[in-house]
Each structure stands twice: as C-alpha cells, then as structure tokens.
C-alpha cells in the first residue's frame, strides 16, 4: 500500500509548481453489479476548476460521489480504486470517512436546504453538529459564507426565515454557503446550475471564479459553455469511461479524441 502510494507524485515533475490536491486512481464504480464508472484516473489541481462533462448517464455524478465516499452510501453500490487527498488514501481503513467529508464539500444537483431549518441554521448546522459552540464564531462564519456564496445581501434581513422560502437559485447558493461553512479544502459541485435561470447561473459562475482562489473545485456540468467559462481543466466522460482529460481550451478547441470532438461540437448528448 505505502509503496504504491509513494509512486504517485503530489507534484508534477514537468511543471514545477503544479500541486495536485486530489488524485483519483483507477476508480470503478457500480450499482447492483452494473458498472457505471470504468477505471477512471484523474488528477485535480489545487486552486483550479476542473469540469466533468459528458452526456447524461455517463457516470459523472457517480464518479463525483466516489471522491467524498458518498457512493458507498447507496445500497448495493460497490467501488474499487483509490482517492488520494493530499497524498492520503481516503479509502484506507485508517481514515474515518466522516473526517474526510469535512474536508471535501459537496453541492448537489437539486438544491436541498434542510427543510426544517432557517437560512441561518442551514449554514450554521454543519458547524454546530460538528461541535462548534461559540456563537460569535458561528455568526462570523455564517455571514462570511453567505457573502462568499453572494447571497448575503439578499437574505441578511431575514436570516430566521426558513431556507425553503428562498427561490431555487437562492436555495442553491444557500447550499453552497452551507458546504463552505465547514471550511472544506475541495468543493465538489454536481450540475449546480442545471435547475437555475441564467441570472442565478451567472451568479454561481462568478462565485466559482472567486472561490477558485482558495479551493480545489470539481464541477459536473452538461452545459459546455459553462465548462468553457468556468474551468481550467475538463474531463470528458462517455459511457463510464474518461475519454479525454486536459486543459479546457485544448478539449474544446483541439480535442484529440473523435467522440470528444463530436460531443463538444454538439453532435450528440
């Protein structure tokens, strides 16, 4: 185990200062014995946005859920492979998956604020339930995260209102603030804007640009314009395979693979 681990360089030799925050190695995942992700390996750069694109059903969500050990919560789901966070295997027996989920935040495709909680509590609950008691700290974090998610100005007057009383786009930004509140290092976003109108989408995209300065962001999207707008790297998945992975510019302007070319030109998907 240790031997293979040291083989994976955290830093790329070619470009000296490229640091990989998260490395997925030979990830295969299945549901009820039906394989959904086939032997996917990817390296995610720190302080960069990596986009995962591909037609629906190709395994993007499944792969993303392998990165924070959410996949194993699905019934009859199995997984092989490794995920290294700062060089440490998430799937090693020695590490508590809970601790790692605190380092890897997740935003789901459908906004899912906790229905019984207020706007404030939605953001605060990650801290409270993880043992933070100091009201002043919680207040600060809630405000800070709502600002980062560019929601603060819209909700600062009504923090006690239920989270569900917000519009869809606001709910999604609330979920982003909630994910940020536990101070993760990596942020996984599964089509965060797919249910949103163009203005809300733009807000989220702007926010991603801002967050990139501090986080490693992995975003699933089936909107190719969005991938070109927000990401530095893009991986194209098709039928469970990672077909091509490279700089976003290269994937969209100069794809090496035929299927990738067809997909980015909008010929299917």
């Amino acid at each position: 185990m240790m031997e293979t681990m040291t083989k994976i360089p955290l830093k790329d030799n070619s470009t000296e200062d490229v640091k990989y925050k998260l490395i997925a190695e030979n990830i295969s995942a299945s549901y009820d014995g039906i394989i959904a992700v086939k032997n996917v390996s990817m390296k995610f750069r720190d302080r960069a946005v990596t986009a995962l694109i591909g037609p629906s059903g190709c395994g993007k969500t499944t792969f993303l859920r392998c990165l924070n050990r959410m996949h194993e919560l699905t019934k009859n789901a199995t997984l092989t492979g490794r995920v290294l966070l700062d060089g440490e295997d998430l799937y090693s027996n020695k590490v508590d998956p809970i601790i790692n989920r605190r380092k890897i935040g997740m935003v789901f495709q459908k906004p899912n604020p906790f229905p019984t909680m207020s706007i404030y509590d939605n953001v605060a609950c990650g801290l409270k339930l993880n043992g933070v008691k100091d009201k002043k700290i919680i207040d600060e974090v809630v405000e800070g995260c709502l600002k980062m998610a560019s929601l603060w100005d819209e909700v600062k007057e009504k923090l006690k209102n239920p989270g569900m009383s917000l519009s869809g786009g606001q709910q999604q930004r609330l979920c982003i603030a909630r994910a940020l509140a536990i101070q993760p290092e990596v942020l996984l976003m599964d089509e965060p804007a797919s249910a949103l109108d163009p203005i809300a989408t733009q807000k989220i995209e702007e926010m991603i640009q801002e967050l990139k300065k501090e986080y490693t962001i992995i975003i699933v999207t089936h909107n190719m314009q969005q991938a070109t707008r927000v990401s530095d790297y893009t991986g194209f998945m098709y039928l469970g395979d990672l077909v091509e992975f490279g700089e976003t510019k290269q994937i969209f302007e100069n794809p090496r693979n035929e299927i990738t070319a067809k997909y980015v030109q909008g010929q299917f998907g």
Partner: protein
C-alpha cells in the same frame, strides 16, 4: 415517428367528449364530498348524542369530586377518573413514546436486515393483539408479582399498546424524509446518528406527532386492560403503586348501574373523555407543529401520516 394523420387521430381522441369528462369530474368531486359527509355524520352524531345525554351531569363538582355512595342522593363526581386517566396517559407516554420512537428509528435507519424484519413482524403482531390479552399478561407479570393493582401496572399495559403504533408510524414517517436531506447531512461530515436525530427526525416531526397522538387517543379509551391492572377506585391517587380510577372504567361502571342519575353521569364522563382526548390532540399539535414557515407546509404534507 407519429405521422401527421395519426396525430390528428390522437387529437380527436384526446379532445373527444370534453363535456362528458367535465361532468365526470363533477360527479367524482360530489362523491368524494359525500364520502366525507358520511364519515363525519356519525362522528357529529356521537358527539351530539353523548353531550345531550350527559349534559345534565356536567358541573364543576362532577369534574372535581369523588364519586358518591352508590344509590345515594349525592351522586358525586368523576374527579379521580379524570386524574387517573391523565396520570395514566402521562406515564404510559413517558414509557411508550421514547421506546417507540427509538424502535421506529431502528426499523427505518438500521432495520434493513434480518433483525429489522423480525422486529417488524413481531411489532405488527403486537399491534393486532387483543388488548385484553395485554391486560392479562400485565396482571400475571406485575400485579401478581407485586401483589396489588397499581398505576404502574396500568401504565405498563397501556405503553405496550402504544408501542407498535408509535414504532410503525415513526418508521413510516422517517422513511418519507427524502434521501437527499440525509445525503446533504453526510456530505457535511455529520455522523449518521446525528443526521438521524437532527435532520431526519425534525423533518419527520409532524408524522411522529400524529402517530403519538393516535396512540394516546387509542389508550385513553382502553378499558379491558385496565380492569386487570388498575382495578378502579373511588379515591384520588394515593401512590403510583396503588389502584387508580380511569375514565373508561368509570364510564363502564356508571352505565351499568341501575340508577338513571348514574347513567347520565356515564354519558357525562364519556363526553369528558372525548373532550380530553380532543384537547390533548389540539394542544400537542399546537405546541409541536405551530412554528413552521409556509415553505414547510409542502414538506409537512410529505411527512404527515394522516
């Protein structure tokens, strides 16, 4: 592909008989409304009947005094029975609610295996048990062991009757909480039991409360198991290890006495019991379910069992 001709054909079909459909819609609406009326009529009839028969007995003394000697001029009241029923409901809930809710949590969150299925099976059997059997069981287990009828024995028997109802409704309402909320919790690195107790349980609150109230209403009217466990009494409670009166028992006794005044008192006691259960129901709902934003309503419907 559907051809243009086919499409025209379909359209004709779909738009055919719009008038008849509207009529049908009205007919179904009327039928549903009628069914509601049919369901409500007996309820109102019972309430009116009970009230009109028992109204003559209702007075402050009736509610607070101990029963008079049988056949005497002063019929007394049903104070001990009201007190007893309240204490019995309280004590049985104290035992039945936590155990039932925990059991429901177990079934819903950890019960997807052989143990869960076994527990679920026996729980369902218990729910179907004639309550008199539970009374006899408690009689043998507690009353005979301790040597006398007691509040404890009654509460124990009633809590056993509550258990399966609460367990099952808890399980069902927890299962109705969408998995996305649990996942949101897990993704925040919150431990499983905490996700259950904070996020899932609060989402299932209205279903839980409904189940508990159902159980309370059920035990409030139970008579058979009480005959074997509390005996009945014409005094206020002396201690939890002594006998106690309860409204259903008192109703039964009063209505089987050969005096008109007693029978009227029986009706009065029945009315008091109905009002008591109704007030508990409304009170608990108000306490636990009032502070909800409008957006919660949608979710409330999801989680509600009724």
């Amino acid at each position: 592909m559907i051809t243009v001709e086919q499409r025209t054909e379909f359209r004709k079909h779909f738009r055919y008989n719009v008038g008849r459909r509207l009529v049908l819609d009205k007919v179904v609406k009327c039928m549903v409304f009628l069914c509601v009326v049919v369901a409500i009529v007996p309820l109102v009839a019972i309430l009116v009947n009970v009230f009109s028969n028992g109204a003559a007995a209702l007075s402050w003394n009736f509610l607070t005094q101990i029963p008079g000697a049988v056949g005497s001029d002063d019929p007394g009241g049903i104070g001990p029975a009201i007190q007893g029923t309240l204490v019995l409901i309280g004590l049985s809930s104290l035992i039945g609610v936590p155990v039932g809710v925990m059991g429901g949590i177990f079934l819903s969150e950890y019960g997807n295996n052989r143990y869960g299925r076994t527990v679920r099976f026996f729980n369902d059997v218990l729910a179907e048990f004639p309550t008199i059997v539970i009374g006899v069981f408690t009689f043998v287990l507690i009353v005979l062991t301790i040597g006398n009828f007691s509040v404890w024995a009654g509460s124990f028997a009633l809590s056993i009757i509550m258990l399966p109802i609460i367990m099952r409704t808890t399980e069902e309402s927890l299962k109705l909480v969408p998995v996305t909320y649990r996942e949101a919790g897990y993704a925040l690195g919150i431990r499983r039991w905490r996700v259950v107790f904070t996020i899932v349980l609060s989402g299932a609150k209205s279903g839980l409360v409904t189940g508990i109230l159902l159980a309370v209403a059920r035990i409030a009217g139970e008579t058979a198991p009480l005959v074997f466990t509390i005996l009945g009494s014409s005094q206020f409670i002396q201690g939890l290890d002594g006998p106690v009166d309860a409204l259903p028992l008192r109703i039964w006794r009063l209505s089987s006495l050969p005096y008109d005044s007693s029978v009227v008192q029986g009706w009065g006691a029945a009315f008091v019991l109905i009002i008591l259960v109704l007030s508990i129901n409304i009170g608990v709902r108000y306490l636990f379910l009032r502070r909800k934003g409008q957006a919660m309503l949608k979710f409330k419907k999801l989680g509600s069992m009724s």
